[in-house]
């Protein structure tokens, strides 16, 4: 089997850090190369999980929309949310998963604003569930390293 893409990107990052960086004398080139190495490490991390992260976001948002569609009063938002609950990515390509995620995230913003303004029990519970999703989403996307 060929080396995996994330393995190759990780190895390139390590090569820049250990082999190329020590040879550079100009501080600007050093800093730029260090940043490039860091980004390759980030790309390696992202490559391995990209489809899973996006699929999980899509799945969780669709579940939220299915619940919200049962609770919202009739109107444009309920129609939009109900449609979003059935929305699927065109394919498993990252660009298609991103497009689907963005479509659903736009609907989530509209739903979240309405939920926050609705002081009923179901809305408070849905608000909390939305935050559970947002927390889980950030945890899935958390980068292992940081330049800060």
């Amino acid at each position: 089997m060929n080396p995996t893409v994330n393995d190759v990107l990780g190895a390139l990052s390590g090569h820049l850090f250990s082999e190329v960086l020590p040879l550079l004398s100009a501080s600007y080139a050093q800093a730029d190369t260090m940043m490039a190495a860091l980004l390759l490490a980030g790309a390696a991390e992202e490559y391995g999980r990209a489809a899973e992260v996006r699929s999980a976001d899509i799945r969780e948002m669709r579940e939220l929309f299915a619940e919200a569609a049962r609770r919202l009063p009739p109107g444009a938002l309920r129609d939009r949310v109900a449609a979003a609950a059935a929305h699927e990515a065109k394919s498993l390509r990252i660009a298609d998963l991103d497009a689907c995620r963005d479509e659903l995230a736009g609907t989530l913003i509209a739903l979240h604003g309405t939920v926050e303004a609705t002081r009923e029990t179901w809305a408070c519970e849905l608000d909390a569930r939305i935050w559970q999703h947002l927390r889980a989403s950030t945890q899935r996307r958390a980068m292992a390293t940081s330049p800060f």
Partner: protein
């Protein structure tokens, strides 16, 4: 680089009265300034039978940057603060005529023998003087908050908001950046903006100078632990001084340990030093608002850098680092700030 040196020699010859035989040597680009191209160089010239050598810094507008800033603003800030209790390099020349270096630029004094990197604080010799650097950092920020710039060019450049409008003006400004630049919907930061609008802070206790990007990394420190110069004033404006304090303390600059903002001294000590120097009290409720706002402002800036890269205006790696890493951290901080209140209420 040779062409740039020659053009700089031509420019300095025209600007320094009485100078002869100007030579620019050791011209090198410095990393870190995403909003300006920054270069270090040494200028040599003859003047009144004396040989003069001076280390200088060139800050030139890039073809594109993280933040689109008023080019005269940073220079005006350096002029307003030079010679005050807030250390800044001496500003020398400001130029907008494109015939010299194609884009606007300014030249200022180089402060030598210093370090700016936050990472350098982790090891000797700077780790040994970190407390001293930290104390100076927060005291100087207090002095910026206290500074009266009335009558200066800076005051004429900047519009002063009413105390009750500081928050709404800044929030609208950064929300607009998000609206214009985001590559995809961002539910977390939008929830933060709604919270900020629902629960506004009390009016500013004083409308003062806000540096706009005051943080470890934007000042020069030396081996003795002295802070020698505050840099990068391009986002300077008038507003609530709590804005600067909150931005300087945003957890991103100390990630993952927010107990020592900017990786220097304890948060409580920093707040006490700032209060003593500024003469202001930190209203905890208003400060919490500005801390939340700082994350929104941060994400707006990182969103701009993502847009710059995606549109091909700037392919600099720093733009991607901001878009990936800084956005990730600020989103996590926002969730930790916002979610518990909702979870407790449900």
């Amino acid at each position: 680089m040779g062409d740039l040196a020659a053009r700089l020699e031509e420019y300095l010859s025209a600007r320094i009265a009485g100078a002869r035989d100007i030579r620019v040597v050791d011209l090198a680009r410095i990393h870190g300034g995403a909003s300006r191209e920054t270069y270090r160089f040494t200028a040599h010239w003859s003047e009144d039978d004396r040989e003069i050598e001076r280390g200088l810094i060139l800050r030139r507008d890039p073809t594109s940057s993280l933040i689109e800033t008023e080019r005269a603003l940073e220079f005006a800030a350096y002029r307003a603060f030079h010679g005050s209790g807030v250390p800044v390099p001496e500003p020398l020349f400001f130029e907008t005529d494109p015939r010299w270096l194609e884009r606007p630029f300014f030249v200022m004094e180089e402060i030598s023998g210093c370090q700016a990197s936050p990472m350098a604080l982790a090891a000797p010799p700077y780790a040994d003087v970190r407390e001293r650097i930290g104390e100076a950092k927060w005291r100087i920020l207090g002095r910026i908050a206290r500074m009266d710039v009335a009558g200066t060019e800076l005051a004429r450049t900047l519009e002063a908001p009413a105390p009750g409008e500081c928050w709404s003006r800044e929030l609208a400004k950064w929300e607009k950046v998000l609206d214009e630049d985001e590559l995809g919907p961002q539910p977390i930061v939008r929830a933060a903006i709604r919270r900020l609008r629902r629960e506004p802070p009390s009016p500013a206790a004083r409308v003062g100078v806000v540096h706009g990007d005051y943080r470890t990394g934007n000042f020069l420190y030396d081996e003795r632990g002295d802070v020698r110069a505050i840099l990068d004033w391009e986002m300077c404006h008038l507003g609530d001084p709590l804005e600067d304090l909150a931005w300087a303390m945003t957890p991103l600059w100390a990630w993952p340990d927010a107990s020592k903002p900017g990786k220097l001294i304890a948060r409580e000590r920093a707040l006490a030093l700032w209060e003593a120097e500024s003469g202001l009290n930190v209203d905890s409720k208003a400060f919490a608002w500005w801390e939340l706002f700082s994350c929104v402002k941060g994400i707006a800036i990182w969103t701009s850098s993502a847009r710059e890269f995606a549109d091909g205006k700037s392919r600099a790696p720093i733009n991607v680092a901001a878009a990936w890493y800084a956005t990730d951290i600020h989103n996590r901080v926002l969730v930790d700030m916002l979610a518990p209140k909702v979870e407790a209420a449900s």
